[in-house]
Amino acid sequence: MKKDLRYLGTLGVAAGAAVFAFAAGAAETGVTDTTIKIGLVQPFSGPASAYSQIAKTDQAYIKMLNDTGGVCGRQIDLIAYDDGYSPPKTVEQTRKLVESDEVMFIFNGLGTPTNSAILKYMNAKKVPQLFVATGASKFGDPKGHPWTMGWQPNYVDEGKIYAAYIRENLPDGKIGVLYQNDDYGKDYLNGLKAGLGDKASMIVAEQPYETSDPTVDSQIINLKASGADIFVNVGTPKFAAQAIKKAAEIDWKPTQFLNSVSNSVGAVLKPAGLEASTGVISAAYLKDPQDPQWKDDAGLKKWHDFMDKYYPDGDKTSSFTIYGYGVSQTLEHVLRSTCDDLTRAGVMKAAANIKDLELDVSLPGINVNTGPDDFYPLQSMQLEKFNGERFELFGNVLDGASASN
């Protein structure tokens, strides 16, 4: 009770300050008449630094925006810091952005443990934690964390999509799962189990691996020994590729499902061997630039132009640059639609009110949709099968949330 009273007092002071600020004509933190300051924290160093390509793409996109006149008549100042994928460092860098650099909001922070570490802080400070780069399902909770929003389809939903396909087409199969032993791997596994429901006993073997494992050979041998004829491969690119290669080497020929994190032809299937990868089923929500069917695609053309001009060192075969482009385009949309209300609350409101936004890099029919009760911008995926040269999409666009039954 006493505490409440004190909060009331603080509120009074804050309100007074707000009124004063308003009277002085000052705008929201981080916003001036000419600039909008945004913060970003990603691992530029350390073992997870491969992901920083996303941040670099974000930065390049913002540069493109600024070169073409900015948004809302303002230039965007994107301040990026490195957290090395270490949660304490994320807290430090985020606080630096919010309290010292005084950014308007934080955009596209990467990783589950890192974003978890600042979740409470951001919501207490009422600073938007926008479009976090992780598919963990906990970053889409409008009631509990109204200032935090994800972007990509979450891992649980994708697991359910595979489960639905398996139930329908391979009802007598035995499933072996290889998964990374962290939140990402476990979310997939849980989604798969939830989707299988009463048929969860179809899973005959689960083999975890650690990112410190040099190879996953031992796990693949065990999966083969379990007699599984369906292989669900929940690995990051390097391990996913090793798994596909090893399975072929030991003559194990199950029906293979490959999680979307690793469905890049250039970074995974080519190193694994195109022949060994033939027949792999995956799910996608973004276009694969390696895929010849998008050769004349208008959206990807824009992405190619962007890459050539603003991020020439960037890896065009990596899904990270596609990802960064897509998420930045969503950000651009949000900012443009809240020009008359450039406040933190306004940004959140705009982010929670996107209707059928088509991205240049997302698959046809997969659009960004949010609402006050729906903080998962992208939720649909489409299955695809690798034909030895490229992925061929098949079936309908599937919604993970409805794939479970």
Binding site: Y81, D82, S86, R95, S116, A117, K120
Partner: protein, 335 residues
């Protein structure tokens, strides 16, 4: 990482010189203390947070220094004890609703016991083998914390979120300032304890083991017991630091306690000065601020910058900040 004698302090310094430069040192200490006490009142909360982290790392480095600097045992795995301390606090607060203040001594105790138990088999291992054993400990820590059978307690890979405490008794301090003073108080208390330990009879035994284990044994020092106890005390310090870190960062997760942390503590120890307790402060500052400086210089090459700064520092002061200050003091005296 070879023979233990190599870590020993430069020996044979005469006592009178110590006393002369002692006054200067005392003045310096008072100045540093005054700055430490006053600065949070004038700084932004974020900077206070950074300084708190610096103090926390300093406490952890102090623990490592007791083990490495004074007892001659290597540890590439002190991050493990830091993690145990942090998780003890987090679990006590989250699952048992115990107030944060009480969890800190408990965390210290738990770490003392773990350190002692780890120290027992490690006794038989010397230099490189001990390095490997502790290195393994550092690698194993995040994997054990993630273990699915412990998930109910540790929160698995998701970790545990902690509520940050307010200043008590209606003190006019922000949460960050309050935690800063809690950390500073704990740090000073531990520093006082470490200083007394090093100067005590036990302390001399500990150092005798470092300088020459065989001779120490023949003089009747129970080498095994002292080595294991030192490991325990060292883990206690580091564990308390971990507990404070959990409260200040408000979050624990396996990814916070990787090999990188253990390595950082070791680097901090060397930068601060092996065998010189106040050096921990310099080491803590290094861990918190140097990566940021490296990042400012070049984002793409921040790792390389960090490495270059390290090499440069070692060139400038091969025995750490402690060595530098001693050299300066000697130079002053000679003038």
């Amino acid at each position: 990482m070879t023979a233990q004698q190599d870590i020993a302090l430069p020996a044979g310094r005469d006592k009178t010189a110590d006393r002369k430069s002692g006054t200067a040192m005392l003045l310096l200490s008072i100045a540093v203390l005054a700055v430490l006490f006053l600065c949070p009142l004038f700084l932004k909360n974020f900077t206070v947070f950074q300084l708190t982290m610096m103090l926390i790392y300093a406490i952890a480095i102090m623990g490592l220094n007791l083990l490495t600097g004074f007892n001659g045992q290597f540890s590439l795995g002190h991050g493990a004890f830091y993690a145990i301390g942090a998780y003890t606090t987090a679990i006590l607060m989250e699952h048992f609703g115990i107030a944060y203040g009480w969890t800190i001594p408990v965390a210290g105790l738990v770490c003392f016991v773990s350190g002692f138990l780890f120290g027992l088999p490690a006794l038989r291992l010397e230099s490189i083998y001990l390095a490997l054993a502790t290195f393994s400990l550092a690698i194993a820590t995040p994997q054990i914390l993630k273990l699915s059978i412990l998930e109910e307690w540790t929160g698995g890979v998701q970790g545990i979120v902690i509520i940050k405490p307010d200043a008590p008794f209606g003190l006019p301090l922000s949460q960050d300032q309050w935690l800063y003073y809690v950390t500073l108080g704990t740090g000073l208390l531990l520093y006082w304890a470490a200083r007394n330990l090093v100067r005590s009879r036990s302390g001399r035994a500990i150092m005798a083991i470092r300088d020459n284990p065989v001779a120490a044994r023949s003089m009747g020092v129970n080498v095994s017991l002292y080595k294991a106890l030192t490991f325990g005390v060292s883990a206690l310090f580091t564990g308390v630091a971990g507990a404070l870190a959990a409260i200040v960062v408000q979050f624990v997760a396996p990814d916070s306690f990787t090999l990188v942390l253990s390595i950082a503590l070791l680097v901090g120890l060397v930068v601060g000065g092996v065998g010189w307790l106040p050096g921990a402060l310099a080491g803590g500052a290094f861990i918190v601020f140097v990566p940021n400086i490296a990042e400012e210089v070049s984002k793409g090459l921040s790792g390389a910058m960090y490495g270059l700064i390290m090499i440069l520092l070692i060139y400038l002061m091969p025995s750490g900040a402690g060595g530098l200050i001693r050299t300066l003091a000697d130079w002053q005296k000679r003038r």
